[in-house]
Symmetry: D2
Subunit: 264 residues, 4 copies
């Protein structure tokens, strides 16, 4: 098994300089720790809790930022897509296209994404059982694309609360595809602050470590130099200056886990 892949970046893209700053620091931290690195950033927050939430740079400007990160940092880049007609355009720049959790059963989006041939990372819906993901996978596979990743980002647990079920990781791994733990969205409190979502940032390293210990392929972490002033998902992002230590710590658990694989 290959060493842990760290998918990290801000929740939403804020501009070229900001993206380069985060990507370069994360690339360095991952290199130092022996982790693989993919830069993550969103060009559009298409399902904000309320109208008051900022949407982002938009697809044109966003993809330019992504291209610059690829060129200057030399890492693969990931973004999330929201409609079928965005897929071809986004795939020209992004190495990994991500299906948002709410949209994980939208057949046309899955097919359009699959048809680009890019790697497709599907976030499991908060409303979906892990053993129902093979149906999602089959939709993408029907396009001939088998470059698929599956992400746990928490399941609905009463109102305004998610719970990350660790059983979900080995269950999704039975598909044979790489499994990702989204440590920051799993500690989201959807709608928990009235007009926006709350979060429990302090538990993101807890879930990341627990998941990495199970031998998963990748961890997804949103980070920001000043989460409390980030335009979205601030309550659950990890401060950028804590990331080098976190990645280093996770790599020790990753090495141990991959030397001693669980059989489920």
């Amino acid at each position: 098994d290959r060493p842990l892949l760290v998918i990290a970046g801000p929740c939403q893209l804020e501009g070229t300089d900001h993206a380069l700053m985060i990507a370069s620091q994360m690339a360095e931290a991952c290199k130092a720790a022996g982790a693989q690195f993919v830069f993550k950033g969103s060009f559009d927050k298409a399902n904000r809790t309320s109208m008051a939430g900022k949407r982002g740079l938009g697809i044109d400007e966003g993809l330019k930022v992504m291209q610059t990160v690829k060129d200057q940092i030399g890492c693969p880049v990931l973004t999330d897509i929201h409609t079928a007609d965005q897929c071809a355009t986004v795939a020209e720049v992004c190495d990994i296209m991500q299906i948002p959790a709410f949209l994980c059963r939208q057949t046309d989006l899955l097919l359009a994404a699959g048809e680009t041939g890019a790697v497709i990372n599907v976030k499991k819906g908060q409303f979906l059982a892990p053993w129902d993901m093979p149906n999602v996978v089959a939709k993408i596979e029907s396009t001939g694309n088998t470059r698929i990743m599956l992400t746990e980002r928490g399941a609905s647990f009463g109102y305004n609360t998610l719970v990350a079920d660790m059983r979900s990781l080995p269950t999704m791994a039975k598909t044979g595809y790489p499994v990702v733990m989204d440590a920051t969205h799993s500690v989201q409190q959807p709608g928990g602050q009235g007009g926006s979502s709350g979060g429990q940032r302090e538990f993101a390293p807890v879930l990341a470590r627990a998941a990495v210990s199970l031998g998963i392929a990748a961890v997804f972490i949103e980070t920001h130099e000043d989460p409390d002033s980030a335009p979205s998902d601030g309550p659950n992002m990890i401060p950028l200056d804590q990331m080098p230590a976190l990645v280093k710590s996770l790599m020790a658990f990753d090495a141990l886990a991959k030397a001693d694989p669980l059989r489920v």
Copy 2:
């Protein structure tokens, strides 16, 4: 308060004759019982559990069926939409456009729907608290459209199971908009049959009656002359020949509820 509105029809449109058959029987049953009636049918099932599930007639053929139902039966018609670019076309025919539960936070879809000026019925996501619906409402209101309906269709309750929380109905009613109980999708068992969803048809009249007793504006019920051979949602649809008695029964509870309104 006006008498109960019954939104009913098959899960997916199967053809003109089939739609007319169901619409005419439902219109007659509603007229006999003193209920208002809206015909419901889907032209596309955009989020089937698996690829093996039938998608439906498509937008062109589906809207022709809807127009025929309007013309021949004389009732308003409702369908669900899945992308922003469908909205204007669908609004030419349909009186009510429905936002699917999984898509209830997709800002662009809500805005495009709102801008048509049609009535917009939003199904509350299985992952959303009822007190978070004002954020959804505000997105539609931002278009100047205040013809809005809000529907309860069950909340995630562990895996493959939903629960209908009766508190959701008066909570959503605080927005001032009409509230709908979707009695058949609330008894769905998402993904519960592997490649398709299961359902507990026998509990749909239970939830319908409980909700109607609270004085709601409308009930949403999918029905079919032979649910077990319907192309989708068969396990939770109510057989068509049971609908006249059910509507009649619900109207008695509706009358009592509206003569004795709850104050929450």
Copy 3:
């Protein structure tokens, strides 16, 4: 079917005068509305959220109060029991003995209660599926006692929250035993106030009406002349002066429900 039974009283017994005051007002309200009435009061709150919560009068003093209510008001009385060795003593006074939800699977308590021959009302645990109640029933039946009632009081729904699943009522009714809706505990927010439980008093009439419309045997409602100063469960109790109107309203739904029984 007989008219609705209203089981009502304060959460905990506070003294003879207080119990008589509530019992007499409730008896009058039930008589006026055509409802059956059972007085409810607890002599010990054995599972308070915290040590700071008042326990109550104790078994000796509590049973004296209960006997006085029986003698002076002429109604049956119900209390909850917590250990097997309380059963025989309590059964000398109380017509109905109630098994608390947390204790609904404690075999020895169920057997000791059953052996008294009193009516046993079991509250379904917040952690139990309604279709698992036949196992509980069988424990009591093994004593030869078939005077059993089954109560819905909400199921765990994430942390600090309950949800009342209306499907639970007809599911438990399949046992053949009378089913009760506990409208006030179902709106409890367990531990929701740190050192005590919160509650949503405003939704108790909502759940009561929804449940009564399904044709259940009884409704359980805690009431107090001044809930906010009650020693326990104040946040979910209904003010006593609202009970006559509530009972009258419920009786209208009860009559309609029993004239038109649901078949599940």
Copy 4:
């Protein structure tokens, strides 16, 4: 921090020879791996799903078995208690007395247990939030006993299902008391087999490893030489012959976790 404590044994005591066989093998496995060991066995299963389930040896016979294990194996022993009047007797033999999850809010039981001065291990109820455990702790502390352990054993997640929330472990650790992961009961499916509970044995090592990686004090695992013929909890017990490898594996994660403590 001290090395991981492994609390292990059969669900219910079956006899002296059986207990000694399991205790000796577990003691050896723990010694080889550098783990601490406590033998666990129940003398009474007081809350079986149904009457058909075996109750166990009873308190007298059970305590004799426990005393023999202590004498011959030289390890501390743990058992669960169900009523206040059992506490003093059990404390004469057992080093750790365990409060069952359903009973974790029964004040009298907590007080009687605390008063013995034994170590008290409280299982968090399936219906309780982890941040509500300080109220439980305070009840025990009121007796002057501060030898307390707190165990996660899964939270209700819809019907017949539990989910183990990893956030619960650091949350309970904020009390300052040692935290235990019950890996086998957390994969129970309560009532999931009609007259008994089901389980997902294959996920117990998953939850154990994830939890141990967070730096907890102890792991609780039920084991049996032939789980499928065990008198209770067979579906979630781990076969005894797999325990040495599991303990060894967990100790590697324990060492890493304790060298790199999480700060929550």
